[in-house]
């Protein structure tokens, strides 16, 4: 991979990671009154995929959508405004962290009801094919969403209708605090999904470049064969299911498990690789500092922006055409 492309991926990773590190730092100030499910540790997946689709993705995410939102839009200004509940956010603060969206930028939305975005993605892919938009739909969901019948119904319909969309299972082993082993009456998910008329890829690298190339390859193949793609991508959530406490603090998980993932952290890995390829420490540090400053400005602007006036409550229940 070229240094430029590798650097672009690193920028995506760094932005998502730093935004959440700022959240961890500022959440205790109680200015962001919205329950948060952090992406930290899992950033390589949305960053690799959204970059591979180069602005031609339509994504549907879950409540764990900080990294998907930022990977797709880069818009940390509106991101922080929404988390702070300001009129400059993505929805006047009405959505908070759990329903981030930027439909104009292909971030179609995020749902807090497990599995509910998957069938929606199939319909969106159907529309893209019918209308010839050239865009590719990506559904992000966790390993827990696979427990829902709608996952199986959706992959069946997509296979039947030969829709080239991407089902992305971000497999972090846990659904809240329940491990996969207590939820699955089968050993291999991919072995079952392979029975559908779709392409199945597995990856455990947690590496943004690997995921980038995998996506390029899979989408090309899916477009040629006219069928959906299922990705099972292993990852680790560094923090608790909800909030900013480190995962592994509570009794349900071994701290060592998270530590071993942190040892091959996707952000650090990509940074080291760029240095090895000859990018200077200085260029990287400059970019990082500029990003940090930009994030700090976003947070300051969010704090300075207005909270919605009471009458805004009633706006947007129905679509207003102007």
């Amino acid at each position: 991979m070229s240094i430029e492309l590798g650097f672009a991926l690193y920028k995506g990773l760094y932005l998502a990671r730093r935004c959440e590190e700022y959240i961890v730092r500022h959440y205790p100030d109680d200015e962001m009154k919205t329950p948060m499910h952090m992406s930290m540790g899992q950033e390589a997946i949305p960053v690799g995929i959204c970059h591979a689709l180069a602005g031609k993705a339509d994504i549907l995410a879950t409540y764990r959508s900080h990294a998907p939102f930022l990977a797709q839009t880069g818009d940390h200004g509106r991101f922080f405004a929404e988390l702070h509940g300001r009129v400059t956010g993505t929805a006047d603060g009405k959505s908070g962290s759990m329903h981030l969206s930027a439909p104009e930028a292909g971030m179609l939305g995020a749902t807090a009801i497990v599995g509910s975005n998957i069938s929606v993605a199939v319909g969106a892919a159907f529309a893209n094919e019918r209308l010839g938009t050239g865009r590719t739909v990506v559904a992000f969901f966790g390993d827990g969403a696979v427990d829902e019948g709608t996952f199986w119904e959706s992959i069946n319909v997509a296979s039947l209708f030969r829709l080239p969309l991407l089902f992305v299972c971000e497999d972090n082993d846990y659904a809240v605090h329940t491990p996969k082993s207590l939820r699955r009456g089968y050993a291999s998910l991919t072995a079952i999904v392979r029975g559908f008329d779709c392409l199945v890829y597995e990856d455990e690298s947690n590496d943004v470049e690997t995921i980038y190339f995998l996506t390029r390859e899979a989408i090309a193949a899916a477009r040629e064969r006219r069928c959906p793609v299922f990705f099972n991508l292993k990852c680790c959530r560094y923090l608790d299911h909800i909030g900013i406490a480190p995962d592994g603090d509570a009794c349900y998980r071994e701290p060592d498990d998270v530590q071993s993932w942190r040892a091959r952290d996707c952000v650090a890995t990509q940074r080291a690789r760029l240095i090895r390829r000859g990018l200077s420490e200085e260029i990287l540090a400059d970019h990082e500092q500029a990003t940090d400053r930009a994030i700090e400005i976003s947070i300051a602007q969010a704090l300075a922006a207005s909270v919605p006036a009471p009458d805004r409550l009633y706006r947007g229940v129905f679509h207003e055409t102007s």
């Binding site: 509940g85 908070g96 807090a112 009801i113 329940t178 699955r184 009471p310 409550l313």
Partner: protein
């Protein structure tokens, strides 16, 4: 008498019923996990084993059908949902199967099944994690719906629900879990289908549902200082509804506010207002007034959440308007804002 929180009362009811009857079991997503559904399932797995207290895949509809099947063959399931919003995925089993099973089998099939669901406001929970959906359940014949508001009733109605031969939807507002009161140690069921008059008063009846009972009691305290006496009634059971108790009160006070913990339009408050009006039309000096949530999806941002949800202050203002009294000086009154107990970070 010893004091228990609402959450401890729910827990104790389940424990006592599980000790008494080996067919009772408790299950649902995250039920034995360390957070323990607001503490209500703490210790159950340890005491009764994984066969009688267990987690499930995230498969609400199928696990609801599972509960029905278990009830058909002699077990007494208690199925728990940490938010009522998730129960929407199970509405097919609930409405098409469970609610009419006894009827379509000629009245020969007891369905001893309890579905617990947490409802209402939390901390920035937004559009998909804070519903109540009360009228969704009360609308359907064949379902009993209870919504206790005190620790005593939480215990008594949970026991009654588990012993019931019919499906019972047991709705718990999440903030009520903190309420503390004296609770009897023995396992006595409170009858399903009776309202409780929580406070006597001559001027106006407030019929309040779930969390709004707390707000109504607070409003009654405030107004008492200004010489206004509210009568506060907690229906406790929403279906079947004890209209007699409501009508008896309104016939005396001749003025009524219905305070619901849900959207107003087509909501349970409409049923309360209609039932009361049908019985008390001649005595009412004014139409029954309803209050509840704003008719919008629930916003996350606190500034709009505070507009979305009514509280004791809302009730006080409606009382002023209906009785033509006030406006009372509310300066210095600390209105409940339990959302502040959920301090960020989550």
């Amino acid at each position: 008498m010893r004091r228990l929180s609402f959450a401890e009362a729910v827990r104790e009811a389940m424990v006592q019923e599980m000790e008494r009857d080996p067919t009772v079991f408790v299950f649902g997503i995250g039920v034995p996990s360390h957070a323990k559904i607001f503490g209500t399932t703490a210790g159950l797995e340890e005491q009764f084993g994984a066969e009688r207290c267990f987690d499930t895949p995230i498969s609400e509809e199928s696990m609801t059908g599972f509960a029905l099947g278990a009830a058909l063959r002699g077990l007494r399931p208690v199925h728990v949902h940490i938010r009522v919003d998730f129960l929407l995925l199970a509405m097919n089993q609930l409405v098409n199967m469970i609610s009419c099973y006894n009827y379509t089998t000629g009245g020969r099939t007891p369905i001893p099944l309890v579905i617990r669901a947490i409802i209402g406001r939390g901390w920035g929970q937004g559009a998909q994690h804070s519903k109540s959906l009360i009228s969704y359940f009360t609308h359907v014949p064949g379902l009993k719906v209870v919504a206790p508001t005190t620790p005593v009733d939480a215990k008594g109605l949970m026991i009654a629900a588990i012993r019931s031969e019919d499906p019972v939807i047991f709705l718990e507002h999440r903030w009520l879990h903190w309420a503390v009161d004296a609770v009897p140690e023995d396992a006595a069921a409170s009858p399903i289908g009776t309202a409780r008059v929580l406070r006597r008063g001559r001027d106006l009846t407030v019929v309040a549902v779930s969390w709004m009972v707390v707000e109504a009691m607070h409003a009654a305290d405030i107004l008492a200082r200004h010489g206004i006496e509210l009568e506060v009634i907690d229906p406790r059971t929403l279906a079947p509804l004890d209209v007699d108790t409501l009508a008896a009160s309104v016939s005396r006070t001749r003025t009524c506010i219905v305070a619901d913990c849900d959207w107003v339009f087509s909501g349970f408050s409409a049923e309360l207002a209609a039932s009361i009006t049908e019985r008390c039309f001649g005595q009412l000096t004014k139409p029954v007034r309803r209050l509840g949530w704003a008719h919008t999806p629930c916003p996350t941002v606190r500034a709009l959440e505070n507009v979305f949800y009514p509280n004791a202050e809302t009730i006080v203002h409606v009382v002023e308007d209906m009785l033509g009294c006030g406006p009372f000086d509310l300066a210095g009154v600390d209105f409940y804002n339990h959302e502040n107990r959920f301090k960020g970070p989550f």
